[in-house]
């Protein structure tokens, strides 16, 4: 989901497994195996994103113009998405408009469900940095997506 294309994500996942296989000797068990694997995945995605950014980057405005209706349909309803793959692709496009640091923490926390401790180990930062980054990332997401959500009140 860090990459804005499902097939590209699958290619990247393959690469991550190959890299992990090659680097197995460097895994000393200091962190959980999953954390080690996530770290490889995050670094690999960052590299790919940097390569992509050199080529082109779709602006948020262009994305809104193209996908605005779909985004509105997705966020104005709380029903399960009818086309999971399309939904995933749309969400990854939305995420790709976030700065890299925000995108990776949103993906790891909201989609992969990593704990704060795991996030700190994967992203190689402190717990305070995790909290601060997650706060700002969520704020940024809310700011971008609030226009697609019909105002409604909720009971606390």
């Amino acid at each position: 989901m860090m990459l804005s294309d499902v097939s590209e994500a699958e290619d990247a996942a393959q690469e991550v497994f190959i890299k992990a296989f090659r680097a197995l000797g460097s895994f000393h068990g200091k962190a959980a195996f999953s954390t080690w694997l996530y770290r490889i995945a995050v670094n690999h995605c960052k590299d790919r994103l940097r390569q992509k950014q050199r080529r082109k980057q779709e602006s948020w405005e262009a994305l809104l113009e193209k996908e605005g209706e779909k985004a509105e349909a997705l966020f104005s309803s709380s029903a399960p998405a009818s086309f999971p793959e399309e939904t995933a692709e749309l969400l990854s496009k939305i995420l790709s408009s976030l700065p890299e640091k925000f995108r990776e923490i949103i993906v790891l926390r909201e989609m992969q469900g990593l704990s704060y401790q795991e996030l700190a180990e994967t992203l190689d930062c402190t717990l305070d940095a995790v909290k601060s980054r997650l706060k700002r990332a969520r704020q940024e997401m809310e700011l971008k997506l609030r226009h697609f959500m019909t105002p409604q009140t909720s009971n606390p």
């Binding site: 399960p80 989609m111 704060y116 959500m149 606390p156």
Partner: protein, 143 residues
């Protein structure tokens, strides 16, 4: 409590392990529609994101395994992590053979025959110095 500080708290509130129902944030939310809407939007975004479960294509595992097998096959036979071991057994073998050879040479008595002594140009004293004990030869020479 100000809206801004409530929203700051709400951004991480869902992650908190122990939520205190008496927290003043709830009192604020009861009376503030804007902050409730903010909370609702956050929850919607989080729910949407967490509901995505991407499954790899059925061929994914085969593709990865195929690549791993190819990579494994293409990799040249890895040299032993302790290259000394590679030479240890032949070296020990040679060393043993050399020690054995020296043992045999040092303990071997040089056979001295009458013919070899009589026909040799080397002075006899020099020849006898090689042999520790040669009473029979001396007797022969005496005759």
């Amino acid at each position: 409590m100000e809206h801004q500080s409530v929203r700051e708290k709400l951004l991480l509130y869902k992650d908190a392990e122990n939520i205190d129902p008496q927290d003043e944030i709830f009192r604020h939310l009861e009376g503030c529609e804007e902050c409730r809407a903010f909370q609702s939007r956050l929850e919607k975004i989080q729910n949407r994101l967490s509901s995505v479960s991407l499954k790899p294509s059925p061929a994914f595992v085969y593709k990865v395994m195929d690549r791993l097998e190819k990579e494994h096959a293409a990799k040249p036979a890895k040299a032993s992590s302790r290259p000394a071991l590679k030479w240890l057994f032949p070296t020990l073998g040679y060393a043993f053979a050399i020690v054995l050879m020296f043992e045999v040479i040092l303990h071997q008595e040089i056979p001295v025959t009458t013919e070899s002594v009589l026909l040799s140009d080397i002075p006899q004293e020099a020849q006898w110095s090689f042999v520790a004990q040669s009473p029979d030869t001396e007797n022969l020479l005496g005759q």
